[in-house]
Amino acid sequence: MENSNQYNKNISRLHKEKLGMEIPENFFAKSKENILNKVIIPEKTKQTIFWLRPMIAYPMAASIILAIALTFWMQNNDNQNTEQITNTEEVKLLNSDFNDDDFLISSLMVADSEMDTYLDSYIINKVMIEAELSEQKLENIFINSVLIEDSLINNYIDKSLIENIVL
């Protein structure tokens, strides 16, 4: 390499001394850089930005996927909790001791978005319970009527039915 450098220097000197040809300062260093920039560009484009390199990009992608999955899972979990609360309240509604005040208090625990569903289920259950109780009372009237004398039966039935239906 040293011989080559000396050879190059001799050639440059010969051209300057014999032919008067000059070159700009540091020309060969700059020219080398220009040439390398032109031919080694494809390699440079292959060099990815630091945070896009596989060792960074893959864990980053995995983290993003995990974060998205967690978000979905947590959202679903919240919905299930809401449904669980509603179901719990429905069970309570089936209990006859569950009165209107309890309903108002328990409704405070229900999310606004679930309020319509909660209300519907409350009304349906209330009607069903009332209907069942009425049916049972009617059955009792007919059973009791068997034990009452024939002359009094019409008055008893009328009286019991009026009580049940009106009240």
Binding site: M1, S4, Y7, N8, N10, I11, S12, L14, H15, E17, K18, L19, G20, M21, E22, I23, P24, F27, F28, S31, K32, N34, I35, L36, K38, V39, I40, E43
Partner: protein, 181 residues
């Protein structure tokens, strides 16, 4: 020669190519520049042709069949690129600076990177009056310090013909310079 064989091997290896090309530039950039400069005359033109030459070398190294030495192959590319440049220029100016002595000297003296004294200008004028073949041979032998064997490979002319052209050119130049003194 061993260094050249090693360099070719590295240049043809994709993993080592870039580093080998840098080494190649260190070794031959300066020589090829001066080889080109004497044909295209001005520095700016020589710079353009030099870049084109090395781009061709980089892209074509895998096609190098090693029938000749690496440096003669590169000189041939540089020479061909220079001639191609002159041909393109000839279309614009209708005459090549290689064939027109006045155009040769005009281009030389108008170049901002020519700083020749009277004697240097006389030598340039004497060279410009040589035939194209004599001029090429004289440049390659005297200034580029290439062997007749290498010049023969680059120009595809027999060594004997080259020797004859060279000595004839030297004699002509001497006579012209002595006549002007």
């Amino acid at each position: 020669m061993n260094q050249e064989v090693e360099l070719i091997k590295h240049l043809k290896n994709p993993k080592l190519k870039n580093q080998a090309f840098k080494d190649l530039l260190d070794l031959y950039q300066e020589r090829l520049y001066w080889h080109i400069r004497k044909i295209v005359i001005t520095h700016d033109n020589a710079n353009d042709v030099l870049q084109e030459t090395f781009i061709r070398i980089f892209n074509g190294i895998n096609n190098f069949e090693e029938k000749s030495s690496l440096h003669t192959w590169m000189y041939r590319i540089a020479y061909n690129e220079s001639i191609r440049f002159l041909d393109k220029n000839k279309i614009k100016t209708t005459v090549s600076i290689e064939q027109d002595n006045n155009a040769y000297i005009k281009n030389l003296t108008e170049d901002s990177f020519f700083n020749g004294n009277e004697l240097q200008l006389k030598l340039n004028e004497a060279i410009s009056e040589l035939s194209t073949k004599q001029k090429r041979v004289f440049h390659m032998k005297y200034f580029d310090d290439l062997s007749f064997h290498d010049i023969s490979e680059i120009l595809n002319i027999s060594e004997n013909t080259l020797k004859s052209s060279y000595y004839s050119a030297v004699k002509t130049i001497e006579e012209k310079i002595l006549a002007q003194c």
